[in-house]
Symmetry: C2
Subunit: 353 residues, 2 copies
């Protein structure tokens, strides 16, 4: 198969981790006889520096002419004092909105070799295997009116039926392909938008009799993600709740540096990126953990290109390298070998050869 | 001193835990020569059953003629299908709004005797000593317009300058009386209300040069509460973020059944209640842990009546009882004595006599 992938390295460790992922893609191309055409674009701080725009039109054009997008990370102290339209994260928000990438998918699975790095007790974290499905283009993030004066400020939380229906469908389908359990998270005891959300989940569940649905409040969910994270299979929620809960979930297994994500839409086109940020403090030092970005390319191969075998090969390679005791410096595992970004990536590639 | 306290037992285990707290108040009155006049009122499901109103006018009247309010808990499956104006939690939202109780204060401190019950590793949880200051009468909870049709729904997040200023002042003052560290939590990279919030914190900090302020994003805060909860002193945030983060924080030390809270306003008048809910599954079985409600009365004595010695006496009694190995059944501590609600309360009262 021939596929065109746009790589947006971004800021901080973004260039290093995307470079690692590109090497893995090349190894996959060789082994499975595919052609991956790689195109590069600017986003975030790098784009602000080059053309005063966190998402230049040129980047949109390049992405439009590709089958999937691989993103590193955006942001850093250099741009922290910028006015809000010149902030790196505006590039991220804009690319999601421009391409209608409404479904943010974040799997969190305990990795035995890494449990020691988890803040949770082993028995709480070891069986975690959940996916958060976050609505990504609606709610407080984008709705109007929004206004700020010296005396007051307003943001607006709007959801339309169709916005809720499509993300709820995504989550039901995912639950069906996994353990058949869906937790729909809202604040229906306070918010009108949550009441509509809950009604739609109730309607939709008729079409998925094989999925067991539970409605949960966002505050209790924030608790249960810590006390019983292994009780979840698929969690679906609106944009802001999803932002908070998915970050919370990302640290429970101690493997933040390992977590991939996808932001997609109906036709499967999507943006794949590590959950972690741009880590400016270690940028350019060949220290970053490239695993999350490499696993994001596995997600891309599976979800965007239906390359299940190839995706599984990458995942197996990554876990083999970890199980052999090879770690990057972000993971504090006693008595284990600490490799640089490029050394660690090479191990993965050797597994794939 | 003579003080009038309104007790609102509420639903589920509410009556049992408030009864326990009342016994402790009586012991304090005897030992320190105070008079506590107790008045009772209905709220939540109990009020809906009696007069189809989760916060009857009669309850408001009684509360108005008192120096402080002690609440048990509201809610239960019995009222879960009710229309939204006949839901128990509406009583809670209404009493907060009616009395302008804008500052919700929730301390979370690790209790060595209970760390075993924490989902977090001992070394992560043991030094936790933080307070969440949550704005309680603004934001998405109360602002207009709110609307729900079959096709879309709207909620509105409004904050005025004065609403933000007073809660930020509360938090700065609290930080000053503790370790002098304040984390102000917002989502200023997305929300206009958060931008105003951040500006006001920046202005206010000039008046508190002894307090070290850090701005944090709500998503990173949700992570850090798990990975480094002991790095926090005082956290201040808006209503919805506070709802989520304070529930998250409440489980990190394993002592949810021990956590008190206060909802107050400028003049010190306030409502004191345990952080835990009404636990309908164990209601009426003399099993509930009354510690959080008893510690809430200690907070009341300290904050509303300036009875520092009396408050400290209650806290010491509670910790002595725990350290002696006495627990209620909610706490899974190996090899420890399990007492009923009334037995455990009696131990506390013996300590106070
Ligand atoms: C950078 C920020 C705007 C973004 C968000 O809030 O969506 C980030 O936190 C994320 O979760 O991808
Ligand atoms: C019951 C509910 C409306 C309430 C809230 O969201 O404020 C509760 O969760 C709380 O935190 O006191």
């Amino acid at each position: 198969m021939e596929k065109t992938i746009t790589v947006l390295p971004g800021d901080g460790i973004g260039p290093e981790v995307t470079e690692a992922a590109v090497k893995v893609l090349q190894a996959i191309a060789k082994r499975f006889n595919h052609t991956f055409n790689l195109q590069y674009g600017l986003i975030g701080g790098a784009a602000i520096d080059a053309c005063e725009n966190p998402l230049p039109q040129e980047t949109i054009n390049v992405c439009s002419k590709s089958d999937a997008i691989l993103l590193g990370a955006v942001g850093g102290p250099k741009w922290d004092q910028n006015p809000s339209h010149l902030r790196p994260e505006k590039g991220l928000l804009a690319i999601r909105k421009h391409f209608g990438l409404y479904a943010n998918i974040r799997p969190v699975k305990a990795i035995p070799a890494l449990l020691e790095a988890s803040p949770l007790k082993k028995e709480v974290a070891e069986a975690v295997d959940l996916v958060i499905v976050r609505e990504l283009t609606g709610g407080l993030y984008f709705a109007e009116p929004r206004k700020k004066t010296n005396d007051y400020a307003v943001d607006t939380l709007v959801y339309t039926r169709s916005e809720i229906e499509r993300i709820v469908d995504t989550a039901f389908q995912l639950a069906r392909s996994r353990r058949g359990k869906l937790a729909s998270v809202d604040k229906a005891n306070v918010l009108d938008s949550s009441k509509l959300w809950r009604e739609i989940v109730e309607e939709k569940k008729q079409g998925y009799p094989d999925v067991e649905v539970e409605h949960m409040l966002v505050d209790s969910t924030a608790m249960k993600l810590i006390t019983k994270p292994d009780s979840f299979d698929v969690i679906v929620t609106e944009n802001m709740f999803g932002d908070i809960l998915s970050d919370e979930a990302s640290v429970i297994t101690g493997s933040l540096g390992m977590l991939p994500s996808a932001s997609t839409r109906e036709d499967g086109f999507g943006l794949y990126e590590p959950v972690h940020g741009s880590a400016p403090d270690i940028a350019g030092q060949n220290k970053a953990n490239p695993a999350a970005t490499i696993l994001s390319t596995a997600m891309m191969l599976r979800e965007a290109f239906q390359m299940e075998t190839e995706a599984a090969a990458i995942e197996e390679a990554v876990f083999n390298v970890l199980n052999d005791g090879n770690f990057t410096s972000d993971l504090q595992i006693k008595g284990k070998r600490v490799l640089s970004t490029t050394e660690w990536t090479l191990k993965v590639i050797e597994e794939l050869d």
